[in-house]
Symmetry: none
DNA sequence: TATGAATGAGACTTCATTCAT
DNA sequence: AATGAATGAAGTCTCATTCAT
């Protein structure tokens, strides 16, 4: 299911190249990264990359696909094993955070170049996956409203939008200069802010 | 006497062109927008743009500068007239939201191409302004912690980071397809989420 | 004889504009100077220049024509009133130097952009004038050889070439930073070098 | 370890391209030569040049640098092995002439576009080298004045200026239409003119 | 006379991609 | 697997010139 027509066998070299590319994409965005830069990082000439991939986009494709598979998979199992929407949401937050830290590059790519990717047939699965993700969140939030855990006046879709973007934020902090938080700190901070707000009780 | 070499006088035509460019930048990002697209939108040839601007970047410069002036100005007056940090923060949120809706393009530009801009001398003021903004937030949050309004265990810098990015989110929703919220709804949702979290009391 | 089809009447404004243009040409060369720079110097817009001239080249034309008229005229009267070729040459040197200092721009234009001008029909007179100049020099040098004033082994054409270019040199020094010589000093130095060389006797 | 980032290794193809470019620069000047003309001469598309060089200017840089290294190197060894300033100067003249004929293009570039190059940081070495060249000449001329070989009333700097430009002249004659002199003839003519003037004894 | 706006040709440059070796 | 060279499309910018007002 994951392989398209041309997807070459995942040799070690290939995997290494994807990782190099992903790091560059994470730093500068997909479009802003040139094939030459990737090749430079690998110590080869840009033309030589085309022995491993048939295009720059197919590198992007591989990175994005793995990311979304990871996230969607995580959400599915988060929801499955949770009766309480509050628990489900906590699991989803933790699962998201973990997936994001495993696929930092994918996030930058989606943030910076969403319009670019989503306009292409090849990347139609992006929209599909995002829809499933959105639905999962909304389902849990609605469930929480109905059983009284969450405030009844929440606009589930609005909160989802906020949450989705909020969850994405900390990833982009990694490797940035200045104080850096541990993932756990961030997640806990997030959850607390989410459930309780900043006001003292 | 009134004209400086570089800060070309803001003729009507010029202002109009900047608006057209800003719309495109908002849609597709600064780098992804070509000079020709801007010219097409204006119904002229791409070279003709250079009658009004010396470079694509100087268009970007103008848009970003106005935006940051607006935001920083808003924060200053928000802080000045507020004894209670809670009030200050509410004012800052409202002021941000207003500024962001006035300068939608600037935000997209910063989000998509921050690395590109901030690496250039010409855009050094971006970092300067961001620092002032950060400090303003942190000051108010710390004040709130000390006088007991906010939870004592808040990491002010962490919360600021979250907030900053959260505030930016709704802007990118405008003009997007699907359900759209009114600005007031969004701001109120945000403030409520911020102060109280999603949990029912 | 000096007017071509379109040559506008030499109003004061026009003359002033030509002087401004000439200064810029002298500094940076004809091609390297843009119409906009000329207009800027005059405090008008570049399009407005076309009320006075039908093209950038016609400005160049006027400058070059005046210069060559001046030089050729000077040579003619130098030769007329001189029995001794030594005297004729001294007069030619002084006349050249004077003409060059009056038309500094023309020189830069010819030096930098000779290939450009001389390839155009419009500037055919450049070649004509240069031929007359060359012939005048060669005539005097040959005369000097025959009557024993100059060394019999001089290659007149070679010496002319050297001299022509040598005479042009000091002009380009004016306004340059560092020590500057008076015109008289330069001319005397030149003449002495020419007639006697640098060796002590 | 041998390759620096910018000073791309001199492949054969690269060297060939530089030679082609240099010929064009010599003919028409640096600025007046377009990248497309260079590419045409090489039988490739203009964009393909950028596989070998990062810019037109870097081609110019390479040509100019080699030239100045050659000239300065030649002057140094001319001065080292010569007790008599007269001998030193003769060596310098011969060394200049040789270097100039090896780097004809560089000369045209400096003559036509000196203002353009010398205004750029990248070409700061031009000024440095010119200063060393000037100082070398002046030193030898002063030495000759003091030991009585040269006339005591010579203005060393003035003579240098004349000489420098005079030495440059013959190069521009090569390949020009009309009678052409052999290099030796030119140099001997020059030296004789320099030491003895044109007057018969 | 001058302005303000625009044209159009052509300059330099970038970059994903191809391909013979 | 990789190199070295090239393509070709597209992008930013320059500049002499035109023209309605």
């Amino acid at each position: 299911m994951t392989t398209t027509k041309k997807a070459a066998p995942p040799s070690e070299r290939r995997t290494h190249l994807i990782r190099l590319a992903a790091d560059l994409f994470a730093e500068k965005g997909f479009r802003a990264t040139t094939v030459r830069e990737i090749a430079d990082a690998a110590g080869i000439l840009s033309g030589s990359l085309y022995h491993h991939f048939d295009s720059k986009e197919s590198i992007g494709d591989e990175i994005l696909r793995e990311f979304l598979d990871d996230v969607v998979g995580g959400y599915r199992s988060a929801v499955e094993g949770a009766d309480d929407p509050r628990v489900a949401i906590e699991k989803m937050v933790r699962s998201s955070t973990a997936a994001l830290s495993r696929h930092r590059a994918a996030l930058t790519m989606l943030q910076n170049d969403w319009a670019y990717f989503s306009a292409q047939k090849r990347f139609a699965y992006l929209r599909t996956a995002m829809k499933e993700i959105e639905q999962t969140w909304i389902d849990q939030l609605e469930r929480g409203k109905q059983d009284g855990h969450f405030r009844a006046d929440l606009d589930a879709r609005l909160v989802y939008r906020l949450l989705r973007d909020i969850l994405w934020i900390p990833t982009s902090w990694k490797q940035s200069r200045g104080k850096s938080w541990k993932t756990d700190e961030i997640v806990d901070g997030l959850l607390r802010l989410l459930f309780e707000g900043i006001t003292a009780r």
